[in-house]
Symmetry: C2
Subunit: 305 residues, 2 copies
């Protein structure tokens, strides 16, 4: 089993009420890879400029992330600048410099075309379609998207949605995509567009899993005493979900639910430090221990009948 991710690798300039960081490593594909690498072998497709540090590629290699698909080209790496207020659920984008990412057309190395699992991170849905054309026979494909593509590339987005197994999407964007303020109805509308599973991401309120043939599942976020930087939490969550699924064969209700909790576990580590610094040196025992804390968080006994 191997897990292909296609998305952005970036420098982030982030300001939160608790501090700021400049040129921190970021981007959807990087957060996703760091997270998923704790569960499976990751194949990374992205583009960076010649300013991208060796330290980062060394780290990814140390986590067994395959970098044959990481193209290095002349110019500067994609750069995002954003700010969070005390409501850490929503970032204000201050600046976006696409740089080398502006001409990105993902090309999959031969080995990557056989990936069993695929995550199409939040990029132009036309690029997501380009990727799908190159993968031979994937078992499970998931995608993320955002308001910008829902507004500007709706037709391409609808086409790619029809071809994937799972969509992971923010609550507000799910409502926008479905044109429906009720989240259950919105999820059902998105399910009708193709995917078997819709994951609604709700930031510090956790995530909901809707599927065609099962009741909804709610994965909480862990209430943390210190949340430093929510950047990348959604991609880190997706990395936990897809990483676990790619390493556990058939997708069923049981391992989907475990995968959602592991997504929350990884995201809870991510937000406790700037960038993905807290995903660099986790031990398996720490992940298992936090998984148990999530179980305790929602545990209750049945009523006596």
């Amino acid at each position: 089993m191997s897990l292909l991710v296609v998305g952005s690798v970036a420098f982030d300039n982030v300001e939160t009420p608790f501090g700021k960081v400049e040129r921190a490593l970021g981007g959807s594909a990087l957060y996703f890879s760091a997270s998923a690498s704790y569960f499976t072998q990751v194949n990374l497709v992205a583009v960076v400029g010649d300013d991208f540090p060796e330290e980062a590629t060394d780290f990814l290699r140390s986590r067994n992330v395959d970098l044959e698909g990481l193209r290095r080209t002349e110019g500067e790496t994609f750069c995002w600048k954003g700010r969070y207020g005390f409501d850490l659920n929503e970032a204000v984008t201050l600046d976006t410099q696409l740089n080398v990412f502006g001409d990105f057309h993902p090309e999959l190395p031969a080995e990557y075309r056989k990936s069993s699992h695929v995550f199409l991170a939040n990029i132009d849905p036309e690029l997501q379609l380009e990727v799908l054309r190159q993968v031979e026979n994937p078992e499970f494909v998931a995608l993320d998207t955002m308001n910008f593509w829902i507004e500007s590339k709706r037709e391409a987005l609808v086409r790619v949605l029809a071809e994937v197994d799972m969509v992971l999407i923010n609550e507000t964007e799910a409502r926008q995509l479905a044109g429906n303020p009720n989240i259950v109805q919105a999820a059902n509308t998105v399910l009708e567009m193709g995917p078997k599973y819709v994951v609604i991401k709700r930031g510090e309120y956790g995530a909901l899993l809707f599927s065609r043939d099962d009741e909804p599942f709610f994965a909480p976020a862990y209430p943390l005493e210190s949340v430093f930087d929510p950047t990348g939490a959604g991609d880190t969550f997706a990395g936990g979900v897809l990483g676990y699924l790619s390493n556990h064969g058939e997708v069923n209700a049981d391992n989907l639910r475990q995968a959602m909790i592991l997504g929350g576990v990884m995201a809870s580590f991510c937000v406790q430090k700037f960038s993905f610094n807290n995903l660099r040196t986790l031990e398996d025992g720490e992940i298992a221990e936090r998984f148990k804390r999530f179980a305790k968080l929602v545990h209750f006994n049945g009523l006596e009948s």
Copy 2:
């Protein structure tokens, strides 16, 4: 065991994107009583005007709510007018007519002074203190409050907080009360003010229980396909929590968690119709069935070690 509630009984004029209703029965004490009546015997203390309909008192009596403490006086009943947008989490208050509620000073009938459990609904904290002075030896006291009292009657609020076992409070108001944007830190600050338990209400995102000596517990809200009117959901939630506790002896981690889920169960019924109409004719079986759906909503298996 009996459960005393002191709060408002009102007429509500409510507009939501799904319809509107005029002079619907409402008020914190009414929602609370209707909900708690499914679990225990309720003693209601409130005031209404001479315009208050017999139909309502007949209904409460039919639910075994004791009305000796419901004073009927000359004038009009408290009237609230509010509107919800598509974000049903927050009401805009359009008008508040205190009417007979303006001169309310709760007087407890002799029998009520022996109540084992007490809920001080969201009223002036000085009135909450007046009530506490009249109760003889309660086993468990909970209160609700709001931004208005946090701003205008902070000193009295701090005094009453020091005397209660549990506070139930909206997320935004918990942050305001504690002066801290992080919800875990805010809950800990409120715990230091006196109560053993702090319940943070998060609307459609559920509720968190913090306590001095246990890890946090998260009670989800059920994702509903139709939410008609969120008015009273918080008081209905509190009615489930306190109703269950007052009927189950010693307060411990297990029955607190079950009580939180039952609060969510009752709130989920409440929001499906205008006013508390959906709390009029529930069967015990419906409550038990929805409790099981809540259990399924958050169920997942442990990881193989």
